[in-house]
């Protein structure tokens, strides 16, 4: 793995497995919403101007801002 990829790097339709959450104020919120390491995420929609993003995780649609998505690191 050369560069660490985050959820924000996914294109609509692409999938990845969450590897790690970067320490952040919102880590707990993301965990509670089901963004746990080992879970599959799929990028679904991107809002106008490229922010916020909408992902599918644990079987439902979750919208989050780009800055928040950047703290979720993935393996593709």
């Amino acid at each position: 793995m050369d560069v660490l990829k985050s959820v924000a790097d996914l294109k609509p339709g692409q999938k990845g497995i969450i590897s790690k959450l970067q320490e952040d104020e919102l880590t707990l919120k993301l965990l509670e919403m089901g963004c746990l390491p080992g879970t599959e995420v799929e990028m679904c929609h991107v809002a106008p101007f490229g922010d916020p993003l909408c992902i599918r995780v644990s079987g439902y649609l979750l919208s989050l801002r780009k800055s928040e998505a950047e703290t979720i690191l993935i393996n593709c």
């Binding site: 880590t27 707990l28 919403m33 089901g34 746990l36 106008p48 079987g59 439902y60 979750l62 919208s63």
Partner: protein
């Protein structure tokens, strides 16, 4: 009431909690406030069996016990405090079966608190469509709690739910403890600290003690000393709350993952993707089409507020006028009757006319919310709104502001971030509310020719639209300024579920409308009535003797005039001699640079109760007769009015436009001030708002008048 058992409904947002609450309580519900916070508290009574009734409280939707917003904090405040008036004898956790894992997180937390818990398994129909098979008996066994399958939408399973609730309550009152089970021994992470807290606060449950360690400093029910004590201990033990919460959450999901793997059979994963929701989202969340559709829906809402709501509004308006006329004719002429008709009933009319618009607006908003579309609007607009210091969730308050600022300011509660919420509250009254329409209409009719330009557009219509855009632009620019000026910290975030699309339930829509209208009538109503009465007094009484003198003089002057005309002139002269008239003259020097005289001054003062009073006051001053609020008559009278200092007409385009701009920006509404006071819990923000909007209105009106003069 207090002897009835308390039941709390807890659950994730969109799990169907409100629907279940409506099913259980029907119309026996009322909305109040949780003490100290502006969070709606819905309570109602439910007849469980012929012999059992319970009080049901709908707690705010939350994903976990660790709050991220004032709404969510309420849940911890109630569940952690046995002395709370609505502390539950039984917690019903409403769970979305199609999102079982995420929903069970909250369930396991509540269960670990040791409270009697019942799981209401909702949305099974949705889960079935996604090919999820849930083994309910096994789930109940693994969760160590009764599980009842329900459909909060259709009401299926309500009898079984009530029966199970009754059984649990009866068991509890017979001293039979519910099944105890702890999913995650979180207290073990910091055994000394939780042990100490347990002893100090006399707690029995480890997890409650552990929650005290996390949240004790923020909860509403502990005293200052107790909070300081907790803080000291947290320091002593180097308590790492954030990482412990993360560790606990991961541990919970591990347990939940095992339970769900056993109890839920997932038929075919791929089928879940290509459902109704994703097909709709392909359009509604499309970068271009999504925005276009949203704008089209906005237009439809405006059309409904303005065009469709007009008929019932005219009916109400006419009805009130007729009632007043009738009372005047039936009752003996006296001051008390005047107070009743011109003060109280007129004030009441000023509230009632807005009900159709508010009902229509909230019909739309609640349909959009129920269907799941509103979350998409937030998603689409967030980026744009954020660039001016607002939030995707500011869209609903701003739209509502077009009907009335009072419910709009209340709608800002959904904004978690305090700074963004505050800015939304501060700028919402700049959106042109419907109370401004009568003023706009008459002034535009006065100075803008009724002409068609470019084939289709009416010049007066364009002027009206320009005023709305002006208000909107002012709101956006003010927000931008406040974004830079206000120094309030707090991370803003938008981690939000986009729920599946659903057909709205009309009963829920109806209940929302009733609730909003009720809130408006109560909140705005008391202020409008109070001010209407005060204004009536100010314009009916004057310094001793002056009113009589003025009246005598008019009787002398218009000896030969008809009865109606004489009456109108007397009313006008009395108004001039009243305290209100004196006030108008007193402020004249201040408003003369804007092109106004003392007569407009009186109208400005009186419109503080509610802007639309402006027109009525003008017609009284100009002796048109206040029952005759027909636009044409007032318009003609205004056109004839001569400015004594110039000899030309009083209502020049300069004066009229200056007034229009003034009303577009001025905070001329006591009810809004009152509601902002309540929502921001103090006088600081409403006063700042009053000052900034008045300055903005004054300066803009001054510029307009000076340029056009």
């Amino acid at each position: 009431m207090s002897s009835l058992p308390n039941i709390s409904l807890v659950g994730n947002p969109n799990s169907g909690k409100s629907s279940l609450f409506n099913q259980l309580t029907g119309l026996n519900q009322k909305v109040g406030n949780f003490p100290g916070v502006t969070v709606d508290k819905k309570t109602g009574t439910c007849r469980l069996t012929a012999a059992h009734t319970a009080v049901i409280t709908d707690l705010p939707g939350t994903y976990s016990l660790y709050p991220k917003s004032p709404d969510e904090r309420v849940v911890a405040n109630v569940l952690l405090n046995p002395r709370d008036p609505v502390f539950p004898d039984l917690v019903v956790v409403v769970v979305d079966a199609a999102n079982l894992k995420r929903n069970l997180l909250l369930f396991t937390e509540v269960k670990d608190l040791g409270l009697p818990v019942l799981l209401a398994l909702n949305m099974l129909d949705v889960a079935r469509k996604q090919n999820l098979q849930i083994d309910v008996p096994l789930l109940s066994e693994r969760l160590h709690a009764p599980v009842v399958s329900i459909n909060a939408r259709t009401g299926e399973g309500m009898d079984a739910l009530k029966k199970e609730i009754t059984k649990m309550l009866t068991n509890a009152s017979n001293g039979l403890a519910p099944r105890k089970h702890t999913f995650v021994e979180a207290a073990e992470y910091v055994p000394e600290l939780t042990g100490q807290i347990k002893r100090q606060f006399g707690l029995e449950n480890d997890y409650i003690a552990y929650q005290y360690a996390h949240q004790g400093e923020e909860v509403s029910f502990l005293g200052q000393d107790q909070k300081r004590q907790l803080e000291r201990w947290r320091d002593d033990y180097r308590f790492q709350d954030k990482s412990l919460q993360a560790r606990e959450t991961v541990a919970r999901y591990e347990v939940i993952g095992r339970i769900v793997a056993e109890a839920v059979k997932e038929a075919d994963n791929d089928q879940r993707k290509e459902n109704f929701t994703s097909r709709l989202d392909a359009i509604f969340l499309h970068r271009i089409w999504g925005t276009v559709i949203f704008l089209a829906i906005l237009l439809l809402i405006f059309q409904a507020i303005f065009a469709w709501a007009e008929y019932p509004m005219n009916l109400i308006d006419g009805g009130i006028a007729q009632l007043n006329q009738w009372l005047h004719n039936q009752l003996p002429k006296s001051l008390l009757v005047d107070l009743l008709t011109d003060g109280l009933i007129a004030g009441l009319g000023g509230i009632l006319v807005f009900i159709p618009q508010i009902a229509v607006l909230f019909a739309f908003i609640s349909v959009l919310e129920e269907s799941g579309y509103m979350a998409r609007v937030v998603f689409l607009m967030d980026r744009m709104m954020r660039s001016v210091g607002l939030n995707g969730r500011s869209v609903v308050p701003l739209i509502s502001g077009v009907a009335c600022a009072v419910p709009a300011v209340m709608a800002t509660r959904s904004i978690d971030n305090w700074k963004e919420r505050l800015i939304t509250i501060m700028v919402t009254p700049l959106m042109s509310c419907s109370a401004r329409i009568p003023i706009y209409t008459i002034l535009i009719a006065l100075v803008v020719p009724d002409q068609t330009v470019l084939g289709v557009m009416n010049l007066q219509g364009i002027a009206l639209m320009a005023l709305y855009l002006l208000g909107f632009a002012a709101a956006i620019l003010s927000a931008l300024v406040m974004k830079w000026v206000l120094k309030i910290k707090g991370r803003s975030f938008l981690i939000m579920e986009l729920p599946e699309y659903k057909m709205p339930r009309w009963a829920n829509v109806g209940l929302t409308i009733i609730e909003k209208v009720k809130a408006f009538v109560l909140e705005a109503g008391k202020v409008i009535i109070a001010i209407a009465v005060i204004l009536w007094v100010l314009s009916t009484y004057g310094p001793p003797g002056q009113m009589q003198q003025a009246e005598a003089k008019v009787r002398q002057e218009y000896k030969n005039a008809g009865k109606d005309e004489l009456g109108n002139h007397i009313a006008s002269a009395r108004l001039e001699a009243s305290y209100a008239g004196h006030f108008g003259k007193f402020i004249e020097p201040a408003i003369r640079p804007l092109g106004y005289d003392w007569k407009i001054g009186i109208a400005l003062l009186s419109s503080f109760a509610a802007r639309e009073v402006f027109v009525g006051t003008l017609s009284t001053i100009y002796s048109v007769g206040s029952d005759d609020e027909d636009t044409e008559t007032i318009k003609e009278r205004l056109q004839q009015e001569i400015n004594p200092r110039t000899g030309g007409p009083m209502y020049t385009p300069a004066t009229a436009f200056s007034l229009l701009v003034f009303y577009a920006f001025a905070m001329m509404c006591m009810s809004t001030i009152a509601i902002v006071h309540r929502e921001t819990k103090g006088w600081k923000w409403p006063i700042i708002q009053l000052v900034y909007m008045t300055v903005l209105a004054y300066v803009s009106a001054l510029v307009v008048y000076t340029v056009l003069k």
